[in-house]
Structures are given as C-alpha cells and as structure tokens.
C-alpha cells in the first residue's frame, strides 16, 4: 500500500475470501452478483458470460489478497465492479465486438492506490494465463518435474527420490524443461 489511507470496513470480504469463509462468499454473491449480471447483460453479454466474469473477478481479488496483501480503501462493490468492467471491456475487444457506453473512470470510486494495484493484478493475471498456456504445451514429464520442483518449500532431493532420479539429473532436467518454456514465452514477447 503506497498511501496511508484508512482500510475500508469491506476488508472483511477480502479476509473472508482469503480464509475460505463460506458465509462471506455467499454474501458476496447475494449482494453483488445481480448488479454485475445486469451490467454485463446491458453491455452485450449473456448470463453465462456474466457468471464467468464475476467468478474470474473474485479470483483476481483472492489472488491479490493472497499474494499482495490487498488492503481495501474503497467499498468492495466498487472494486469488484471496476475489475469486472476492465475484464469485460477486454473480452469485448478480443472478440471484436463493439464497445460499451459507460466510461471506465472508476478512479474516484476506487481510489488511485487501489486502482494501481488492480491494474497491476490484472496485468499479472494476463501474464500468468499466457505462461500457463505455454506450460501446458510442454511434455508430461517436463510438466510434472516443473510442477513438483517449483512449488514453494519443495525439497528437491525428496522430489528426485520420488521421481526415481538423482538430484543432479533432476536439476539438469528441470533447467532443460524451464529453458524450453522460457524460449516459448520469450519468442511470444512477454513484457516485463
């Protein structure tokens, strides 16, 4: 958090998502899903698309709170709505469908600090999605090795034993697999 702002009382939604609180998740749906559904449908979307966007927006908030310790300084609804709008605009653009009528100026509702964090989270989301797509094109053995070795706190020696490999061979194999993945990502021009 760059700004010294008061944490909004809706931070409880963030904590609830982070701690998998069923009641909070239910409340999020009860309070916010219908308005977002209406907004998507008024902007050329279907009910199913509204559901997908809503779900992905909640996941973005969850990831942000888990990895970036998100602190809300605005109402949760404004924050979620701003994410939904951005995701939906992007989806419309990718599909070549015509734009929508409402502008994207959520800066007031959400606040500069949270907006910056949100933009960063959405950019990160896009980056992750691209990297995961390339990851899925690797061979099964490579995927297994990378998946096991890159999980935080994974003991490499134990993984080698689990896979029936020597530690040295595992390290070589892992960096070869990673090199193949990095080359794919690099040739696609992933921005830093």
């Amino acid at each position: 958090m760059a700004e010294d702002k008061k944490i909004h009382q809706d931070q409880r939604y963030i904590e609830g998502l982070l701690h998998d609180d069923e009641r909070v998740i239910d409340e999020i749906y009860k309070r916010f899903s219908q308005k977002i559904k209406r907004w998507i449908m008024n902007n050329s979307g279907s009910v199913a698309e509204a559901g997908d966007v809503f779900q992905e927006a909640v996941i973005v908030v969850y990831k942000q709170s888990r990895e970036k310790d998100l602190k809300l300084t605005c109402p949760f609804e404004a924050y979620l709505m701003a994410i939904v709008k951005r995701m939906w605009f992007k989806m419309l653009k990718t599909r070549g469908r015509r734009g929508v009528t409402i502008d994207l100026d959520d800066v007031y509702n959400v606040g500069t600090s949270n907006i910056e964090e949100m933009e960063e989270a959405l950019a990160q989301e896009e980056k992750e999605s691209k990297i995961m797509n390339y990851f899925e094109t690797l061979g099964e053995r490579c995927k297994e090795i990378i998946r096991l070795c890159l999980k935080k706190g994974a003991a490499q020696e134990e993984i080698a034993e689990q896979l029936g490999l020597s530690y040295g061979y595992l390290r070589k194999k892992k960096s070869k697999c990673m090199a193949a993945l990095v080359q794919k990502v690099k040739s696609a021009g992933l921005k830093g």
């Binding site: 749906y29 009910v47 779900q55 015509r98 409402i102 992750e128 935080k152 070589k172 960096s175």
Partner: protein, 243 residues
C-alpha cells in the same frame, strides 16, 4: 544460451551457489545484456509458476465453490428461491404490481426497464459541494431512486445549463418518472449538442416513443444512431422489436 547457463540461473534462484560462482554469475548479469534479459524472463516465469503451483489446490477449491454459486446466481431465472420464499415473493410481487398498476400505468415503464438500464458515473474528483452532490445523485440514480435524484439534477442543470451529462441523466430520470414531455426536451437538447451522450439521448428518445407506442417516431429516432455508435447494438435490438 547453453544448458549450463539455464542450470546456473536455476541454482542462482535457489540460492544453491558457492560464493565464488555466485559472484561470477552476478558479474555476468552486469556485463552481458542478453544474458541479463534471458535471466529476467527465466526469473519471471519461475516466480509466476511458483506462485501458481503454490496456491493451485486452494484456488481449485475456491473455484469449485464459486462454480456452484454461479449455477445458483447466474442462470436465466436466478437466483433460485425456496418454495416458501418463492410463495412470499409471489404475494409481494402481486401486491406491488397492483399498487404500481393503480398509480403508475406500468405498461409505459416496461420498455424503459427492459431496454433502458444504465448507470450514472460519478465525478472523478471530490472536493467541492457540487461534486459531493453529484456523487449522491449517482448513488440514487443507480439505486433507481428517481424521485430523490431529480432535485439534485435540477440543481446541477441550473448551475451548468449546458452540461450534457446532467441534462442526459435528468432526461432519463424524467422518463422513469413518466414526465415524458420534459424528458424529451432535455434529451433533444443533448442530441443537438456534440457530447458523447448524443446518441444515447437519441436512443432514450426512441425508447420514450416505444413506450407510448408511437412506432414511426421511435423508428425515426433509432435510425439517427450510426452503426459505430456505442449504443448501436441496443438500438438495433429495439428496432427489431418494432418489426
């Protein structure tokens, strides 16, 4: 890049280097731009994957829950209600419908509610009384409380008579309050201007005529909306309804 280069990047990230090799690696990072760029991408991919795998089980569990909720809240007739709640809702809706029928002539409102859902945006900068008032106006408008929002928009129009945004939202508010004549004056003024609300105003004028079953006038206004206008899709949908 050689296989050893990639292996060294991995060891560096794992802090699995003796001090001397570590220094040599860092020196190369400083001097070799291509190596540095390759390491940047390697490191980025590494960290993204690491975060992804680290939370994947929790994320999958959350996705499962959200998917279930989605089935409930995002189906065509959602949200589903329990039989008891449904029964109460039916009675409430029927009672509300009778009251609305007696007071409001609801047939004139249907198209507006069905095709005219929009949100009012807030001013971007807080700081003066008028902006605070407009923030309140946007909240009321978005909550559908048109009776309360009207005096705020009246005041905004008095202060800035040529502000297209205020005129546009007042026009839409007046339509919701069934004051079509005044609504059309505001919306026509917006349409005659050059603001971004111009074609939205034409759309709402079309809607007003649709409500009063004046098909020709409705068609005439919707046809003023060019294909590349943001509201063109909605206008086309309404035109099809007229056929």
């Amino acid at each position: 890049m050689t296989d050893t280069d990639f292996e060294n990047m991995d060891r560096y990230l794992h802090d699995d280097f003796p001090a001397l090799e570590r220094e040599a690696f860092e020196e190369r990072l400083e001097k070799d731009a291509e190596f540095k760029e390759q390491f940047r991408v390697y490191s980025e991919v590494y960290h993204v994957l690491s975060e992804h795998f680290d939370r994947s089980e929790e994320e999958q569990a959350l996705r499962g829950k959200l998917k279930q909720k989605n089935q409930h809240y995002f189906n065509e007739t959602s949200p589903k209600k329990s039989p008891k709640k449904l029964w109460i809702s039916v009675i409430s809706v029927a009672a509300a419908a009778i009251i609305i029928f007696l007071l409001w002539a609801p047939w004139q409102q249907n198209a507006l509610n069905q095709y005219g859902q929009i949100e009012m945006t807030n001013p971007t900068v807080r700081g003066n009384e008028q902006n605070e008032r407009m923030i309140r106006a946007a909240q009321l408008f978005n909550a559908g409380d048109y009776q309360k929002v009207l005096p705020l928009l009246d005041s905004a129009v008095r202060i800035k008579p040529d502000n297209a945004q205020n005129l546009f939202y007042r026009g839409v508010t007046l339509l919701h309050l069934n004051k079509n004549e005044k609504a059309l004056q505001d919306l026509q003024k917006v349409f005659n201007g050059t603001s971004v609300y111009r074609f939205e105003a034409a759309y709402f004028i079309g809607l007003a005529y649709y409500n009063s079953a004046e098909k020709d006038s409705c068609r005439e206004w919707l046809n003023k909306i060019p294909d590349d206008a943001a509201v063109a899709d909605k206008a086309q949908r309404l035109l099809k309804k007229l056929e």
